[in-house]
Symmetry: C2
Subunit: 398 residues, 2 copies
DNA sequence: GTGTCGGCCGTCTGCCGACAA
DNA sequence: TTGTCGGCAGACGGCCGACAC
């Protein structure tokens, strides 16, 4: 046990400072992922956190894990810090969030700024993302760059050269440099990355089906990132801590922080987590208190496509109920049971949360000069003390 | 989130059953590591478990982590199950232990069988372990087998062939087959592994300084394992759960199990953990209640050498006190402060536990027809309730 | 007894345009 | 427009004994 091997929590990458390229991080995490603003109010769901841990450890959540007696199904927190990171081994993007549960007094004084709905998570404009072919990853050749992509994001070639060629230098999430020979040749002419490409492929252990993306930012810097295909989870079950202990640990950390109004730290893995479990408070309030849903109602929901773009799937609400009425009664986490229109959507969640869906209503919910004050979608049973006793009638948008 | 990706806790390796080769596991874990017997009584130390988690996550234990109010510094448990495993990625050996804390009533009825001191952890006899040289791991050539090692553990060559050669098939901890061409050639003659060796080196990502070991068992089967050098921890800080949550989780799991007398699961990584934190009850009782230690006393302690053998280091006891008097008062974990004779021992622990050392006394402690009934090494303060209120005078060896 | 090297051959890497989808 | 292939040249992998420590 060498003392020098110890690292401090805030910077798991060690040598890397916190200036990790935000544009690149968001490009890698995908078009649907946004991070709440530092300083804003958010809602944290232990259930959702538990789901992420379950996926990451390849373990189902053991139904025998007791819930922490004092931990409500959601905590309203102030988001003190957000840092973006990438796994050293896999380049998987993740974020570290520092949360501080609000005291009951603070919850009453909370203000809902419209800006809290999310911020600064725009996808970069000058970028492209290509799914690698067998030829791209083979040792036999280089990388075939789609023509429009090359013209949009790579520096222009000097076509007086024969053949036109240049050296590209791109930096990844760890700020490592990668050099490629970019050449325009062949019959018909095409853009290719040759020398340097295979080193990159083997270093990142890319296989056909994985995606690579390039970004050309305003400062004329080139960045590149990777997005691995959803191949069957190779994430090993951790040999550090039992799955049960991990689930207990996240509950204990949140409960302790809530009891003492102190800060706690969580990791959010956008590519692995089934759903966001830290969402802006305003988004939660809008969805839970200002949206009327009922069985049979139609809705749509956004999903990411293979090509890193967005498409809507349609469905029908088939029920509204607790997902886990024993351990998490009165939780809004995945309280909506849904059916999907397309049969190919069979692998989609059968339960979603209110803030994930967009109900198709005949009357406009927003914008409205007066905040709508609707009842909770189903009647709260006695003893309902979540949301710190705040009743829906107390809620108002500033 | 595909349901098929879910695995059950007991077999993290998935396809691998629990018949993992015990001889090979122990050879890889080293000569000092022994696992308590299934069914026996053991003592579990949350502090030690926490140390292992700290090392595995490259994090110091945060002093602000609250201890669980009801969790004593050690739990007497029955060991219900032990399974040996190896990390899929790194081949690092680890064991999964299922523990059940004893009720106060059970603790009073506990019996101390001498056999509980440990069992069946003998090192294999027909084996060798070699630290890899630059030539061994270079792509330029094969593996040079020490002559005595080859003659002892490899099947004999047919020396009528010119040159004498054969194909060796060895299985690793995951039961994967590795084939090597074993040849006896050169001037002077030497044993070499050629074809197949470089595949193994690159697959296991071995570098110079790592060790490889071969075992020839009674059933004439050949096994091989690896032991990586203690290079600076490349174990990434987990992006799954914060270090704080992990420490809270292991405490919560143990506390919950103790409160309900139910089973809990822990992982023991012998190569990573600074010290064993699950030890046979008899070993604990002998060390804590039947050994007299005092400041100034000389002792010796076993350490593993680079060559996978054992050597003794000498030292002097410089103090006996709580390691963490705030969170873990009256714990025997690392209660002994020591100084080491050799200046090169500077990186050794400054604190050890009683059962790790062998005090040099002038009177024989064992064997003795009468159990010695000594006082605790330092007076227990008021409110000392660990070990379930069992006083030292209540202890006796059967 | 064994670690490293020069020599030598064979395989594979990797760049090229051809060709077709 | 771009995925895959055959052709080809050079780099590297990998087997050998020489030699030194």
């Amino acid at each position: 046990m060498k003392p020098t091997a110890a690292l401090n929590q805030p910077s798991p990458e060690g040598g890397e400072n916190n200036c990790l390229n935000s544009e690149l991080w968001h490009a890698c995490s995908g078009p649907l992922v946004s991070l709440p603003c530092i300083g804003s109010h958010v809602v944290y769901f232990p259930q959702g956190h538990s789901e992420q841990v379950a996926v990451s450890t390849n373990q189902e959540v053991d139904a025998q894990i007791p819930n922490h007696p004092t931990l409500p199904p959601q905590l309203i927190c102030q988001l003190h810090n957000v840092t973006m990171h990438a796994d050293i081994e896999t380049d998987e993007v993740y974020a570290q969030l520092t949360l501080q549960p609000l005291s009951p007094q603070e919850q009453k004084e909370v203000s809902f700024l419209p800006a809290d709905l999310g911020c600064s998570s725009r996808q970069p404009t000058n970028y492209f993302c290509k799914t690698l072919t067998a030829s791209d990853t083979s040792t036999h050749g280089g990388f075939s760059v789609p023509r429009r992509a090359a013209e949009k994001v790579f520096p222009p070639l000097d076509f007086s050269l024969q053949p036109p060629a240049q050296e590209l230098i791109a930096r990844d999430l760890h700020n490592n440099e990668w050099k490629f020979r970019h050449i325009f040749r062949g019959q018909p002419k095409r853009h290719l990355l040759t020398t340097g490409w295979s080193v990159f492929v083997s270093a990142k252990r890319l296989v056909a089906g994985d995606s690579v993306l390039f970004i050309w930012n305003e400062k004329n810097q080139l960045f590149l990132g990777i997005r691995r295909a959803n191949r069957p989870q190779t994430v090993m079950p951790s040999s550090v801590l039992s799955s049960d202990s991990m689930h207990l640990g996240l509950l204990a950390a949140a409960a302790h922080a809530a009891a003492t109004n102190s800060r706690f730290t969580i990791f959010y893995n956008p590519r692995a987590s089934p759903s966001e479990f830290v969402i802006p408070l305003a988004k939660y309030v809008k969805a839970v208190y200002h949206t009327r849903v009922s069985v049979g109602m139609r809705f749509r929901m956004l999903f990411e496509t293979e090509e890193s773009s967005v498409r809507r799937y349609m469905g029908t609400i088939t029920g509204v109920s607790d997902m886990d009425s024993v351990r998490w009664p009165n939780s809004h986490w995945r309280s909506v049971k849904v059916g999907w229109d397309e049969s190919t959507a069979g692998e989609k969640q059968q339960r979603v949360s209110l803030w994930e869906i967009e109900p198709l209503t005949t009357f406009p919910m927003y914008p409205s000069p007066f905040p709508l004050r609707l009842k909770r979608p189903w009647p709260p049973p006695t003893g309902f003390t979540s949301f710190a006793g705040m009743k829906s009638d107390d809620m108002a948008l500033n």
